[in-house]
């Protein structure tokens, strides 16, 4: 909290700009330890410099043997004893601060919190918004829309190897383990796009496994959720109809879902509302028609090792497919 008063710490992927209570607790504990250790560091260096300067005339001579008197011994004992007491007190201050932050983070659990399921994949994030009515379940990828000021429970697990879910502005890291579900509580108090990143090395493209937490006011979030629960837009002109056929007759259909069409595989990201997302390839590229075309033709040149195979298709087929994908708002 003290450090937050220091100007210059902004940004959408830094724990020094907390936008929720969880990150706030972490940041204030960081500030406490930072200021204490900074002060000690300065005092030690200053003392060192003062004594070097004070004895600079004797530098070139033979060192004098240390001469002690009972008086100087007592003084040294008092100084060392005092420093020991201060050190112990400061260490306890940091430890108690750590306990307090840990307790605050641990007691964020609310039964009424809004639950979002997050699944880590090599190398993207699958996001589910569970609902008691199966046709209202929303599935998306790499963009986690959340309502502002509402306690959230992120229920995370992994579909393959160990990943770690980390949006530094919102909460600390949480490892996602295959075959084991874990809950992490958070809350976002400030609307905006907060970037997150996998924080546990998970293979070749670990560095390109990012996501955005998009925090919106309640009504806007509700509107987004209702829109995402809809089936995909049906093709409305000959070109997009052909594009849909390209999608269904090529390798795309083996891995991706577009709700409202026969494509229903859960290997890759759900593309039902692909055009409503701002990035592709887990935050690697902006979602533009050119980037999407390059990604479809040869994703391996953009993200080597990723699970998307190169796709060979004619120019017309690609144009039709892109036209169709662009309509999937």
């Amino acid at each position: 909290m003290i450090l937050a008063a220091v100007p210059g710490f902004s940004g959408n992927q830094t724990s020094l700009n907390p936008v929720g209570p969880a990150a706030g607790h972490i940041e204030s504990e960081f500030a406490l330890i930072f200021w204490i250790t900074l002060a000690i560091y300065c005092i030690v260096l200053l003392t060192f410099v003062v004594y070097v300067v004070r004895r600079r005339h004797s530098l070139n001579l033979m060192p004098e043997p240390l001469q002690t008197t009972p008086e100087s011994d007592r003084r040294a004992q008092r100084w060392v004893g005092g420093a020991m007491v201060v050190t112990t007190l400061l260490l306890f201050t940091m430890m108690i601060g750590s306990f307090v932050s840990g307790h605050a983070l641990g007691s964020m659990n609310r039964e009424t919190a809004y639950t979002i399921d997050v699944y880590g994949h090599q190398w993207w994030w699958e996001v589910h918004y569970p609902n008691d009515e199966p046709d209202k379940v929303v599935v998306t990828a790499n963009e986690i829309h959340v309502p502002v000021g509402v306690p959230l429970r992120i229920h995370g697990t992994s579909r393959d190897v160990i990943h770690s879910f980390w949006a530094p502005n919102v909460q600390g890291k949480r490892d996602l383990l295959p075959g084991y579900g874990t809950d992490v509580m958070m809350q976002v108090d400030q609307p905006g796009r907060w970037r997150g990143q996998c924080a546990e090395y998970c293979g070749e493209q670990h560095a390109h496994m990012s996501f955005y937490m998009v925090a919106e006011a309640g009504p806007q979030f509700k509107q987004w959720l209702d829109q995402q629960a809809q089936s995909s837009v049906a093709p409305s002109n000959p070109q997009t109809t052909r594009g849909q056929q390209v999608f269904l007759s090529h390798a795309c259909v083996m891995c991706h879902t577009i709700r409202g069409t026969p494509a229903g595989s859960r290997v890759g990201p759900d593309l039902t509302h692909l055009a409503s997302r701002s990035t592709i390839a887990a935050g690697v590229l902006p979602n533009t028609i050119g980037n999407l075309g390059g990604w479809i033709l040869n994703a391996q040149s953009i993200k080597p090792g990723c699970r998307m195979p190169p796709n060979h298709m004619t120019g017309t087929e690609l144009q039709d497919l892109l036209a169709y994908l662009e309509t999937l708002k």
């Binding site: 090529h250 390798a251 290997v267 033709l297 090792g305």
Partner: protein, 183 residues
Amino acid sequence: MKQLTLIALLLGALTIASCKREQRVFDPGSSGTQVPNGVALNEVHAGGPVSVSDESPYGQSAYAVGEGKRLFSAFNCAGCHNHGGGGIGPALMDAKWIYGSHPDQIYSSIVQGRPNGMPSFAGKIPDYQVWELVAYVRSLSGQLPSDVAPGRSDEIQVKKAEQAKKKEHPPDENPQKIEKGQP
């Protein structure tokens, strides 16, 4: 000192020997990544011979076989063949092969489909992924060296790992060479 040099040399030789095992080809190139019409049934082609893709690198790379194992579940091969034991479709871990046990024969079965249920995946699975599947399918009956075959599964272990599978001997294992004489 001599012994040390010998050990270093041996270790060096080991790393060279294991090169192919760890070779990872992420970008197989744009040509031949897709199967336009599946496999030709005749050796004679209008307009000259077609390029024949080579399966050998896939059967020697642990990465490719591992990818094949992942795709075997992802593309729901396990839905009919289970994890090699068979069910709706025939078992893949025994010595019986209805349509042949050779890599190119398995490739054809995947791409063309087979009567009574096996769908044709022509145009749906990129060429190199079909070869990865072929390599994995062969590992199920122990046809691959144990340093290449997968050593563990992500699902519940119900059988020995492919690596530990005793090699089955299909009847067509050593086919007689057909002598191509002059007409």
